[in-house]
């Protein structure tokens, strides 16, 4: 699969539109899901997805194959969303791990049994973009720590730290919502 996608990118670099279409069909859904998880705006996410594939069309000739195609494409999407945030001058929502609340209590609070997708969406929305990106790539895409670090352009330790904090924030938020508490 990976070699096939490398070949597709090479073909795109030579101006092959059918190869671009094949690449689009292979990556459209996961990349769109990643983008929309960070923006919460399906329309803007569709525009950014479009920009990602236009960039692929423009720069495929310079792809040297030193990374996986998936990592390369998600890396483009990662930075496109950062640019979108910049243009909006969006303020980071949450970065501090609350002192109150017990993670073990949160984990036991019944979330596992309740399948609270709505709560999960809400709580994901309270995370900063760095945290949300790490969670999305780890759990939507089941990527390794090394892959996520390559996409975000940071050391693996930074990704582990982001996921650790994101986990605490998510469980705290979920616990608060499920138990009817107000969570800051």
């Amino acid at each position: 699969m990976s070699e096939n996608h490398h070949f597709l990118v090479q073909q795109v670099g030579q101006g092959d539109k059918q190869a671009l279409a094949a690449l689009y069909r292979a990556y459209e859904r996961p990349v769109y899901k990643f983008i929309v998880s960070r923006l919460n705006d399906p329309h803007e996410a569709a525009d950014i997805l479009h920009e990602v594939f236009m960039d692929i069309w423009r720069v495929a000739a310079s792809f040297e194959g030193r990374s996986q195609v998936r990592t390369w494409i998600f890396g483009i999407a990662y930075r496109k969303v950062i640019d979108a945030h910049r243009k909006r001058a969006r303020v980071t929502v949450t970065d501090e791990v609350p002192e109150t609340g017990d993670v073990a209590e949160a984990a036991d609070a019944g979330f596992a049994a309740k399948q609270e997708a709505e709560h999960l969406r809400f709580c994901m929305g309270t995370l900063s973009d760095d945290h949300r990106s790490a969670v999305s790539l780890a759990f939507y895409e089941d990527m390794t720590c090394a892959e996520i670090a390559q996409i975000a352009g940071v050391p693996e330790g930074t990704i582990k730290s982001r996921l650790h904090h994101a986990k605490k924030l998510l469980l705290h938020c979920l616990s608060g919502r499920i138990q009817g508490r107000v969570v800051a």
């Binding site: 459209e28 569709a46 479009h50 423009r58 310079s62 950062i82 999960l120 990527m143």
Partner: protein, 215 residues
Amino acid sequence: MTRSREEIELDLPFLVNGTLDAEARAEIEALVADDARLAAERDALATIRREMQAEEVNAPGEFGLARLMRDVDRQSVRDADYRAGSETDGRRGVIAQLRSRTTLWQAVAAVAVLGIVAQSYFMRPPTSFEVNVAPAGYVLAGGEARGALVVGFAADATEAAIRDVLLDAELEIVAGPSALGLYRLDVLEGADVENAAGILRSAEGIVESVENARN
């Protein structure tokens, strides 16, 4: 090398998504087996992962692909027109190096990015860069289309913070972002590149990397 308990615990999300190697997996599984809190966290993360993967999204699908193909065609036509035009217009010989698709895109991207710093852009006198703008593209005074510095901004840097640093360093963005998220910058007329690079390097939290483009 032996890892501490805290370091091993950081692998919990990757235990849940199944991407750990055998050694790391064995380490954290041993911890989870003896720690009810960790076990509860693992179960909660596994549920979160299941929920996220089960979530349906309505991707653009064939409509998105049709839009992509349409815009690719339009760009191809623009590129062809541009090449044809440049062959008949002697004035455009100076920008012949901009003919490739990639470089043309960089020129287009540069114009788009300039919009980001439009506020500062319109509040100062024209530079040599602007004076040398050609009808179908642009070149710098020395005939070079690329900036003196290649810069990466921090992911969480705001547009306002970036603009302040650029004004302070007397820099303008001339191209980018590249596929790697990097921008090419040039100093304004009369400004010093090394001084500007120093200001960028001292802007911790806003600028992540600064390289001289001509090294």
